[in-house]
């Protein structure tokens, strides 16, 4: 994007907007023309009334006699013109506003659809707060000019009418008067060259402020418990100060442009008077014509500023639109295929072939190209670090895995070994950097949108509860009966607490609703997956917040349902021996590679790393027992528990 002219690009964007809201836009322009005609008509009428009514009435010995009725008639005519003008104003304002808000809504909807459509790897590399700012302030910046554009166009029409009249009255003076318009455009060219980078910077910093606020509010609990509030306030205040300085810098330019566009028609009028007087003195112009041109020019002086205001908004239009297009034209769409998934009740057979996965590289802000060295420095600092880490170690590499349809497989591995990533790959939360993920022998990337999610469900570690009812949170848009929802809740051991909620399934949870405990949230997420009757169920440590007894019940329930029901292939990320005992097969993942697989007994015998992982608690318990034996006679500290009712 060149940092120069915004005139043509800006007008192009606005023309696009006009095409997208043709009726509202046309209505607004029509209103603006009516307003312009009304304003001009009022000026013309005042002139006529002065000449035909006021002057004769007040001039003694006038040849024309003016009755009181004529005077009232003149007043009525003026009032009628005023009413037309009022109609024009209403029409223009309402329609222009409706067009602007219509465009805002249109682009916000489009953005939200893009956000929902873009791959998760894209989301992971774009700060949430920045995306929010795009939907809010970038959309506003882009379409702000739309509120004034019809006014400006109406003025153009007005000039189209008044201009020839001025030229007809006196070609030289009329010409001088009309020069005001090109002068505005020239002034705007200079203005937009200075203003554009500043406006881009402002919009980018708005995104940053939003991103910092969003992140900080998300981490509020950590901020509170570690007493980090002061540091966070300092961080936010630094960003707010940068935005302030950028706004002031933009304001310095903007603040200069407005007086210029205001002064141009004024100077034009004065020039007309000066030149006109000289021409009148030399006899080449008629005084009446000069007065007419000067009067028309002064009439135009205010509306012409509407053109100036529109031009002044163009840099924001261009800057905002660039940021919108960065999302809307993002090529990283999730490339859905066209195949349909097998929707029969038989369990699915997922597999991975030579899968390798790297984390995506964070994406700098779309308008980072300008003069903010700080952002560039950070981006530059991040890039080589990421480059190195890519080379150092992928999250997963060379993973080959075939899950037998209808079996339960436990995925076991140390912290950070890549279990969650593998789980996410199977349901296509992310795509592998290289290699293939297959479902029933079909590459999951070949499946059409929604197909994989229709047969495979993942319960993630961290649960997200939507600001919706319990029913809405379980169904998530799927057409299911209340009975289905209750059945899923029962299976997830969530029926008890849901039944005790004030409005049962209709209780709002999430932001405005009831506070749920971690275990309750996890069971809700479990029900969300179960209600979909998946052929492949991936549980990513999904029972970690559940107490052992509850977890056992959930897993038993799953086993019963799936054995007796349609049959499901289950992959469960697990570490407890009891969970693993429910599995037909165990896969041991270490540092992103499958190091062993087999039955639990086989691994326990031959895989030392596995043994160390799963028997850790038992060994610790034995060790502790031995220690407490040896220190039997050492009296433990006395504890008081006044609340004990045992």
């Amino acid at each position: 994007m060149s940092s120069s002219g915004t005139f043509l690009p800006g007008l192009k964007i606005l023309a696009r907007g006009a095409r997208e809201e043709p009726r509202l836009f046309a209505g607004a322009v029509l209103g603006s023309v009516v307003y312009g005609v009304g304003t001009a008509g009022s000026g013309w009428l005042v002139g006529r009334i002065t000449e035909d009514v006021v002057v004769p009435a007040l001039t003694s010995g006038s040849q024309r006699t003016v009755t009181t009725g004529d005077v009232w008639l003149a007043g009525a005519a003026l009032l009628a013109v005023a009413l037309v003008t009022v109609g024009g104003v209403l029409l223009r304002r309402i329609f222009a506003g409706a067009a602007m808000y219509g465009l805002q809504a249109r682009y916000r909807r489009a953005l939200a659809r893009r956000y929902l459509d873009l791959p998760l790897s894209w989301h992971h590399s774009h700060p949430a707060g920045r995306l929010l700012a795009t939907a809010a302030s970038d959309v506003e910046a882009t379409w702000q000019a739309m509120a004034i554009l019809p006014f400006a166009l109406g003025v153009v029409v007005l000039i189209g009418v008044a201009g020839p009249a001025m030229v007809a009255a006196d070609p030289v003076l009329g010409g001088i008067g009309l020069v005001v318009v090109p002068a505005l455009v020239v002034a705007n060219a200079a203005y937009s060259r200075v203003m554009s980078p500043k406006v881009r910077r402002v919009q980018r910093l708005r995104g940053e402020v939003s991103a910092v606020a969003h992140e900080s509010f998300e981490g509020a609990l950590v901020v509170k418990t570690l007493g980090l509030a002061d540091g966070e306030v300092a961080r936010f205040s630094e960003h707010a100060a940068r935005l302030r300085d950028a706004n002031i810098a933009a304001g310095r330019t903007r603040g200069a442009f407005d007086p210029v566009i205001e002064a141009l028609p004024q100077l034009g009028t004065l020039l007309v008077l000066a030149v006109g007087a000289a021409r009148a003195a030399s006899g080449s112009a008629d005084v009446g014509d000069i007065v007419q041109v000067a009067y028309m020019l002064s009439l135009l002086a205010f509306p012409v500023r509407a053109i100036g205001w529109t031009l002044a908004e163009l840099p924001r239009t261009v800057a905002g639109d660039a940021r919108l297009q960065a999302v809307l034209r993002e090529s990283a769409t999730t490339p859905w295929g066209t195949l349909r998934a097998d929707r029969t009740a038989s369990p699915a057979a997922p597999s991975a072939r030579g899968v390798e996965y790297h984390h995506p590289v964070p994406v700098p802000d779309p308008t980072d190209e300008d003069d903010d060295d700080d952002a560039r420095r950070r981006a530059a600092a991040a890039a080589p670090a990421l480059g190195r880490s890519r080379a150092a170690r992928p999250v997963l590499s060379g993973v080959h895995l075939d899950l037998t349809a209808g079996t339960t497989t436990a995925l076991v591995g140390g912290t950070g070994s890549g279990k969650s990533t593998l789980a996410g790959l199977l349901v296509r939360l992310v795509d592998p950097t290289s290699g293939q993920v297959l479902l029933d022998g079909v590459d999951v990337r070949e499946l059409a949108e929604g197909e994989l999610a229709g047969v495979a469900a993942l319960v993630p570690q961290a649960t997200f509860v939507f600001d919706d009812t319990v029913r809405g949170n379980v169904a998530l848009g799927l057409e299911v009966t209340d009975d289905d929802v209750w059945a899923a809740l029962r299976l997830a051991q969530a029926d008890g607490f849901v039944a005790s909620l004030p409005d049962g399934l209709d209780t709002r949870v999430g932001e405005r609703g009831t506070t749920l405990s971690g275990g309750q949230r996890q069971r809700l997420a479990l029900a969300r997956a179960l209600v979909r009757r998946p052929r492949l169920l991936v549980l990513d440590d999904a029972t970690s917040a559940l107490d052992p007894a509850v977890e056992r019940a959930v897993l038993d329930g799953l086993g019963a349902s799936f054995d007796g029901g349609q049959g499901t292939t289950v992959l469960v990320v697990a570490s407890r021996p009891a969970t693993i005992a429910l599995a037909d097969e165990v896969v041991h993942l270490e540092r992103g590679r499958v190091v062993d697989r087999g039955t639990a007994e086989e691994l326990l015998q031959r895989d030392e790393g596995y043994r160390e992982l799963v028997s850790a608690y038992a060994r610790a318990a034995r060790q502790r027992a031995a220690e407490s034996m040896s220190s039997e006679n050492m009296s433990s500290k006395s504890m008081t528990g006044e609340g004990s009712r045992a």
């Binding site: 916000r108 939200a112 969003h214 205040s237 205001e262 939507f466 998530l476 848009g477 309750q520």
Partner: protein, 607 residues
């Protein structure tokens, strides 16, 4: 739309979990503004002086036109080119001069308002962190974010464009009024009389505009909340192909905002058109009345013509001011939302300086006396009648079933919430009397969800202590037996963690959070399932390491893994909001109570 069908039980103020607004009186706004954003008023005097000069520029050209025509072009002795030259050159000089002052006014206003709004933003932001965790909680932070971003932007838009117009318009009004009286006091009174009803009805005319804009801001907060869900909940939405549901929710919020904005626009246009109409009416009346007065000889032709000309100068700023007063309503709506946030009472307030007590040095003793707690807006008691003494320097494990009140107990001990009844004493001091800043230096909690900031592993650990170095961070990890984990990170401490720490696994985030808490060197450490996602071998190693690290401190571990409980000095068993058992794990395991049952279930699964 969704707004209309909101369930009757839902709270009226729906955005961002902030209590419903207590609408401030407009008169109070200026006082609050001076308090919350004092920078706005800085240098305002000089700005107003420049603005007055600029106002002169507004009327100089119309007056010059009139003078040129009357005394230059229609001079009795024919066109007086010399006089015209003097008038136009003088006027041009004034125009250029006021162009300069106008720029100064604009720039000074930008500078002052941006400075004021930056501090208003920061104040609101700081207040969010003062609010209780419960008030901040929730999934839709979008609407909270909107209060420190787009709501503040609304105010700045008004202050920077509207305020200039308002100031200049008022100046012009005053000048034009004076001129009108100079030319004809009768007609001047007539003009003013026409605007009196507008002035009287202003409040009533403006009321729908005010209400509409308040709704617009509200809808905007909800819109951002809905968009925020599509961004933050992207994983879940994708996993369950729930995007249709999400875009329907966004569409509903977008449409609600659009409709409301158009409603506000219609109200604004209606108010504005009243001004336009009255202006037309004034012109018509002056023509009629002026002519009739002239016929009676009360006004000369010249004066009447001049008066007609001045009306234009009077009417224009009236219209501009109507316009600005509408914009003001939008700004006020944004302002109220920001102030409403700032005025949200802090549920867990800091003690007054006279009442404040620092925690005594050394390990902290925790004593709960008759503590009960009910979450606001709910009726079920989460905890009741809890009496408990946790001796200084001991290691306590709290166990109990999901939803039994364990986490609430941890929140009370770290003063994330205050009890409804009873007291929480830390080393004998009521927790309510300890200033938050000093409390959280000594009492640190590690929540289950290991939230990390979007920077590096090292930076996240160093957050635990502001002056910590990288070596301190390495030492903290090594104290916890995590050196091997650090070594296998691709870039060591420099490894980027991504948004919310998502480039690390949940277990790794918990490791970083633990190291961060350890570096903070607390006297009371509360671990709320802080190792729930860590693999068993690492967890056992961590437990061993923690035994050393925690010596000389008090620690409270909320745990569902009984391995933690077994390593503790004392186990507290919570059931349905009551403490039902307290004692060493080895004793409770065989006591036949609730702990025995939990222990049996655990042993069956793990050993």
């Amino acid at each position: 739309m969704s707004t209309a069908t909101a369930s009757p039980g839902a709270p009226a103020s729906s955005s961002a979990a902030v209590p419903s607004p207590t609408t401030p009186k407009p008169q109070g706004v200026i006082a609050r503004a001076r308090e919350l954003a004092p920078e706005v008023a800085q240098g305002l005097g000089l700005t107003l002086v420049f603005a007055s000069v600029t106002t002169l520029g507004r009327i100089v050209v119309p007056v010059a036109v009139q003078q040129t025509i009357d005394s230059g072009l229609r001079a009795p002795g024919g066109v007086d080119a010399g006089r015209v030259a003097v008038i136009t050159v003088a006027a041009a000089v004034v125009v250029l001069l006021t162009m300069g002052t106008s720029w100064l006014v604009n720039y000074r206003l930008f500078r002052a308002t941006e400075a004021g709004l930056a501090s208003l933003r920061t104040r609101a932001f700081a207040h969010v962190h003062r609010l209780a965790v419960l008030t901040q909680g929730g999934e839709r932070r979008g609407s909270l974010v909107s209060r420190v971003t787009s709501d503040v932007d609304t105010i700045s838009t008004f202050l920077q464009t509207g305020m200039v117009v308002l100031v200049l318009s008022i100046g012009q009004l005053v000048l034009a009024t004076v001129l009108m009286f100079v030319y004809s006091w009768q007609l001047a009174l007539l003009v003013l009389a026409c605007f009196v009803p507008v002035l009287l009805l202003r409040e009533r005319l403006q009321r729908p505009v005010t209400r509409a804009y308040q709704q617009v801001r509200l809808r905007m907060g909800e819109l951002l909340g809905a968009v925020s869900e599509t961004v933050v909940g992207a994983d879940v939405i994708r996993a369950h192909a729930a995007s249709a549901r999400s875009w329907r929710a966004v569409d509903a919020a977008v449409e609600a905002h659009r409709k409301q904005a158009v409603t506000a626009q219609v109200a604004t246009a209606a108010t504005f058109s009243v001004g336009v109409f009255v202006s037309g009416l004034v012109l018509a009346l002056v023509v009629v009345a002026g002519t009739l007065l002239g016929v009676d000889g009360d006004i000369t032709l010249g004066r009447l013509l001049a008066f007609l000309f001045i009306i234009g100068l009077f009417v224009m700023p009236v219209q501009a001011a109507t316009e600005v007063l509408n914009e003001l309503q939008n700004a006020l709506a944004g302002w109220r939302r920001v102030v409403e946030l700032i005025d949200t009472p802090v549920v867990v307030p800091d003690p007054s300086p006279t009442d404040a007590v620092e925690l005594p040095a050394g390990p902290v003793e925790v004593r709960l006396e008759g503590v009960g707690y009910t979450y606001p807006g709910t009726s079920r008691k989460v905890l009741s009648d809890v009496d408990l003494v946790l001796p200084a320097g001991s290691r306590i494990a709290v166990v109990g079933e999901t939803g039994s009140g364990k986490t609430t107990l941890a929140r009370l001990v770290t003063r994330l919430v205050d009890p409804d009844v009873g007291r929480v004493l830390l080393s004998g001091v009521d927790a309510r009397r300890v200033p938050e800043a000093s409390l959280h230096r000594r009492v640190v909690a590690v929540p289950q969800e290991g939230f990390l900031f979007d920077s590096t592993v090292g930076e996240n650990i160093r957050l635990g202590r502001p002056d910590a170095t990288d070596d301190d961070a390495v030492a903290a990890l090594s104290d916890l037996g995590l050196s091997r984990w650090l070594e296998q990170l691709p870039d060591g401490l420099e490894t980027p963690v991504g948004q919310r720490g998502e480039r690390l696994s949940a277990g790794e985030r918990q490791l970083v959070a633990l190291a961060r808490a350890h570096l903070a060197d607390p006297d009371l450490l509360v671990l709320d399932e802080a190792t729930s996602s860590v693999d068993p071998a690492t967890e056992v190693r961590l437990q061993r390491a923690l035994e050393h690290v925690l010596s000389g401190r008090t620690s409270v571990a909320i745990a569902h893994r009984l391995s933690t409980a077994e390593a503790a000095d004392v186990v507290v068993v919570v059931d349905s909001g009551r403490v039902v058992e307290v004692g060493p794990a080895s004793e409770l395991a065989h006591a036949g109570g609730p702990y025995s049952r939990l222990h049996a279930a655990w042993t069956a699964q793990h050993v």
